[in-house]
């Protein structure tokens, strides 16, 4: 049984900008929760807080009821960035990085990396320089590099934002496979309504740092209670 993640009253303030404003949200273990919102709504900031890359200005993050500081969050979660970042090494070395820093034995690393690359369809490219791959292939490497670690929480920041349809479908299929295994809690940030509908067990609408609506996909899209969420879904939201 995978763990239960709770975000309680998290604020994130940069100077005079409040990027997150009293965000409270429950993430069910083994499910896909989606943070839906326009650009600049605070999705990435929340993911970075959950990844332990930034300490919130205020509020708590609890995992299985235990308060988690950034350094502990980094041990149980992995973030796949919107802009793919590759180490200047081979595909194999990129995927193996997290396992190596954990001191896992070489044979075990080889087995896990091989499985991970197979699941994203990149086995034949393992010796290629990761930075020489196409955008879609790099995103698949990034995904393999994250889930090979079998994290408790997998954070995906707009994983298909810059990809063509074929690559986006491949990435979504990998996410669906992972959800079917219920091996970890997946938190997906996206502004793509259709993707949220296809992949989510639960959707939160984040708007200028505040969560306006939380519901299952059915209710979220058919009976949103918040007016701004309703406008967002209907494409009527204006800046």
């Amino acid at each position: 049984m995978v763990g239960h993640l709770q975000v309680e009253g998290v604020n994130m303030i940069y100077g005079e900008i409040k990027a997150l404003d009293s965000v409270t949200f429950d993430f069910d273990g083994g499910r896909v929760a989606t943070l839906l919102g326009i650009n600049g709504s605070g999705k990435t900031t929340l993911l970075r807080v959950l990844a332990g890359l930034e300490e919130p200005s205020k509020g708590n993050i609890l995992f299985n009821g235990k308060e988690m500081k950034a350094q502990y969050l980094r041990q149980i979660s992995t973030l796949v960035f919107q802009k793919t970042v590759m180490f200047n090494t081979s595909v194999y070395e990129n995927v193996a990085f997290g396992l190596k820093v954990r001191g896992i034995r070489k044979k075990e690393i080889e087995r896990k990396v091989s499985q991970a690359l197979e699941s994203v369809g990149l086995t034949s490219l393992e010796k290629r320089k990761a930075r020489k791959l196409s955008g879609g292939e790099q995103q698949r490497v990034a995904l393999a590099r994250a889930f090979v670690l079998e994290p408790e929480i997998l954070l995906l920041d707009e994983p298909t934002a810059n990809l063509d349809l074929a690559n986006a479908v491949t990435i979504e299929n990998v996410i669906k496979k992972m959800r079917a295994r219920e091996a970890c809690t997946i938190i997906l940030a996206t502004h793509n309504l259709h993707q949220a509908k296809r992949l989510s067990d639960k959707i939160a609408h984040l708007h200028y740092g505040r969560i306006l609506e939380v519901a299952g996909p059915e209710d979220f899209f058919t009976h949103p209670s918040n007016q701004t969420t309703k406008k967002f879904i209907n494409g009527e939201l204006q800046f």
């Binding site: 970075r48 990844a51 332990g52 890359l53 980094r74 041990q75 979660s77 992995t78 973030l79 960035f81 802009k83 970042v85 180490f87 200047n88 990085f97 997290g98 820093v101 954990r102 590099r145 994250a146 670690l149």
Partner: protein, 229 residues
């Protein structure tokens, strides 16, 4: 004038190709002295540069500003300060370093340390910030994350070291003031070129200048080639 230059150039090539012992001696001493200077500056400069590149602390801008300002220090002024320190009556006179190859190496290392620190720290700082975050989110410790950044900045660091060596190799003021240009002891390429030109030995000067430039250029070209391949 042109014919004189061509003749001098021909004589210079003969000196190089026949392995003239004096040319060989001056060249090897230059490489040794400047190589040692580069090694010294790496020993104390690289840790400072890496700390500047990887961490933030109060006064960091001031430290960076100091090293950037030191980039333009006149070699003769530095030579004079070190000369006064190392001379018999100076505070470091007890070590009897003046007019030794080691004195030149120390002087050159001080001269090139700001170059090494500025270039290396800039190279480390300019690595993608998200690369550090990526390493951290994949579970790397601070030390492992720093190693990732350094590996990424490796070529920048290598180029900084080579640029520092080239600067030391091509400088005149420190070598002249601290070495004294003593034949077979402290005479290096630059001091020798200066002396031979003043004496009218143009062919010899050209030979040394060709070697000086050949070493500097071939080192840079070799690095570019390695990097591309």
């Amino acid at each position: 004038m042109f014919e004189t230059f061509v003749e001098a150039f021909r004589q210079a090539l003969i000196l190089i190709l026949t392995g003239d012992p004096e040319v060989f001696s001056v060249t090897t001493r230059s490489i040794y002295v400047s190589g040692l200077a580069t090694l010294f500056s790496c020993i104390w400069g690289l840790p400072v540069a890496i700390t500047l590149g990887l961490s933030s602390f109060p006064g960091k801008r001031l430290v960076r500003g100091f090293f950037n300002a030191m980039l333009g220090i006149p070699t003769v002024a530095l030579g004079l300060i070190l000369f006064l320190l190392l001379s018999k009556s100076g505070p470091l006179g007890i070590f009897r370093l003046l007019y030794t190859p080691l004195a030149i190496s120390i002087g050159q290392s001080i001269l090139i340390t700001p170059i090494l620190i500025s270039f290396t720290s800039s190279s480390v700082e300019s690595t993608d910030v998200e690369l550090r975050n990526l390493a951290r989110t994949l579970g790397a410790s601070n030390l492992q994350t720093n190693f990732v950044v350094l590996r990424e900045a490796l070529w920048g660091v290598v180029l900084a070291v080579v640029a520092s060596f080239n600067r030391a190799f091509a400088e005149l003021g420190v070598a002249m003031m601290l070495g004294g240009n003593i034949r077979y002891v402290t005479r290096v390429l630059t001091t020798s070129i200066s002396l031979e030109t003043a004496r009218g030995e143009i062919a010899f000067s050209i030979a040394l200048a060709i070697i000086l430039m050949a070493i500097v250029f071939s080192l840079s070209l070799f690095l570019s080639f390695i990097r591309r391949s």
